[in-house]
């Protein structure tokens, strides 16, 4: 369609006898195309980042991030989530396989973590509650800690 606009403007100029405007028209057209490319690149980059958010934060995005997304982007995110969930369910037999966990090959079942900020109480699989206070260290199952490590609340201690 942009090309049609350009041709249309050119034809108008020729019919009105002002062919000296044709270079300007062509130039303006190139500028518009460039702007369009920039905007498309920006939007596409946003999309890729939104996709990465699913892998980093999980299914529920923090409110601060949702605030910066427009409705169409949220819609896209939901579609992507559904698509990923369908794919994961199709793997690994009946239950499906959660491939968003263990993105690096795990070395051990339990890891030592250090708390970087006060997070309050945290529940682990067998129902017990752990108080996460700044600078306390804990030895916990790895899969429970991954989420918090990604959020920056806990830090994996390698000694």
């Amino acid at each position: 369609m942009p090309r049609n606009c350009c041709l249309h403007s050119e034809n108008e100029a020729k019919s009105e006898g002002r062919s000296e405007l044709i270079p300007s028209i062509k130039f303006r057209h190139c500028c518009l195309l460039r702007n369009q490319r920039c905007v498309t690149a920006y939007l596409y980059d946003r999309l890729l980042r939104i996709r990465a958010l699913r892998w980093e934060y999980g299914s529920v995005l923090p409110a601060a991030i949702r605030f910066h997304m427009c409705a169409e982007e949220l819609e896209w995110f939901n579609q992507y989530k559904k698509s990923l969930a369908t794919y994961m369910r199709s793997l690994g037999g009946e239950e499906g396989l959660d491939i968003t966990q263990d993105r690096k090959p795990p070395k051990s079942l339990y890891i030592e973590v250090r708390c970087l900020k006060d997070h309050g109480e945290f529940e682990i699989d067998d129902g017990t509650i752990i108080l996460l206070k700044k600078n306390s260290q804990h030895f916990l199952p790895r899969w429970k800690c991954e989420q918090l490590i990604r959020q920056g609340v806990l830090e994996h201690v390698i000694s």
Binding site: Y110, E112, T128, S136, Q137, H138, F139, L140, S159
Partner: protein, 570 residues
Amino acid sequence: MFVTDIRKEFYDIVVNQRVALLVSLDVDALCACKVLQALFHCDQVQYTLVPVKGWQDLGTAFLEHKEQFRYFVLINCGANVDLLETLQPEEETIFFICDTHRPVDVVNVYNDTQIKLLIKQDDDLGVPSYDDIFRDDEEEGGDQDSGNESDGSSEPSGKRRRFDEGAIERRIERQRARREWEARRREILFDYEQYEYHGTASAVVLFELAWVMSKDTKDMLWWAIIGLTDQWVHDRITHMKYVTDIAALQRHVSRHNHCNEDEDNSLSIDCMRICFEYDLRLSLYQHWSLYESICNSCYTLSTFKLWSIQGQKKLQEFLADMGLPLKQVRQKFNSMDIAIKENLRDVIEESSNKYGMKDIRIQTFGVHFGFKNKFLATDVVHAAAALLESVEKDESGTDNFIKALDCLSRSNLDQLHRGIELAKKKLMAIQQTVASCICTHLILSQGPFLYCCLMEGTPDVKLFSKPLALTLLCKYLLKSFARSTRNKRCKILPLVMAAPLDVEKGTVIVMGIPPECETSDKKNFFGRAFEKAAESTSSRTLHDNFDMSIIELKMQDRSKFLDALVTLLS
């Protein structure tokens, strides 16, 4: 109660449970914590680690975690006070206490269900026997009996009267016996609790647990060595005990060294090697210049009296006597001439004998891994203590704990080097403070003890608001003072030191150490003395530290507290 088989009664119980580790802030506790963490990682025991600075912190940490944990392991805290009374735990909570503080409170010793002491019983404990302190009250019934008899009757017949008299006599007799028993009990408890001292390092106890389970590694052995050396550096154990424990650890070191070294498969240079060293008593000398180290180590500082001009001259003579050029000696140790470094220890030992320093060398251990990394146990102790009590801005107590804990791992060498730099600053500050205190005669004899008070504006006085740094300062100061004073009586007095703690709140930290003596048994009576003096003058004190001989005091109450202390100890 004391645990007899530490593996069955402690480790096998916690291995399937989640445990809360409450760790005190000193280097031995850090090392014990590292050993225990390594064991827990091996067996995947889930735990939570919380550092505690004093009794208040311990109480807070316990309250925060008591809903979530049933098993608590306390390292270097909790043995010397009635724990159940202080913390008021539920019936099912069980405490495992690995503490060097002695005397162990009698209630902790005789409680069979909730308190398990991970303490070696051959540690010369002298706990009073059960019957001397606790008495099952059977004669309550007897008293009531006689009471009933005396007011139950409405008709005193002749027989009844005689019976009554007999009952009254027996009651009087029982009461007298009971009063005697109570007086004896008070005396026994007073004798038992009068002197504070320290037992075997917690790191060594936990290392032996690891050894019993055949899960000990060289890293754990190194941590045990550091724990023991920490006790020696901060003057908590006698020389005899230090040497005995070193011999025990030496057996472990030989065992580990023989496992791997072989003609055919010798270890790579990057592997960790621990070796026994009969090394010099100069703090941090391999990471400093020899001259600086001699100037800032307690032993040489006090022998040469380096705060005076004559002392400096003597030092120059000493160096000349050994044939060490000043230029070499002021260089970084690693850059010194190899020819000088080779026989350095023997040369120094020979010359020090002439200058009255008979034991310039001490048995210790060193570790090296890689080509550059060689550390003595004392180096690591100084570094960890400096990191633990660093007073730089924006560093809270728990931040420092984490850093000090990290510096003990071999993978955090930059943290260790940072600690060594801080330790150098600390030692220099101590040396300058000692010099100024002695030159300005700040140490006064109060009769039964010496007293020294650091003023607000003294340089680096912030460093000495922390217990470990203050301990080192007191030790250096007392040793130097004992050498420099001419008054024979003052040489054998103990020292009480006060340093400003918090200017806004107007508090000072007060600490007492036993007298300086070759054969001192390091038993400190200031804990109880401080308590009694504070009570009698109702001074506003805070006995928060796990060591009873370190307290906080309001500045205004200082003089009346001191007067009470003088009266008490005269």
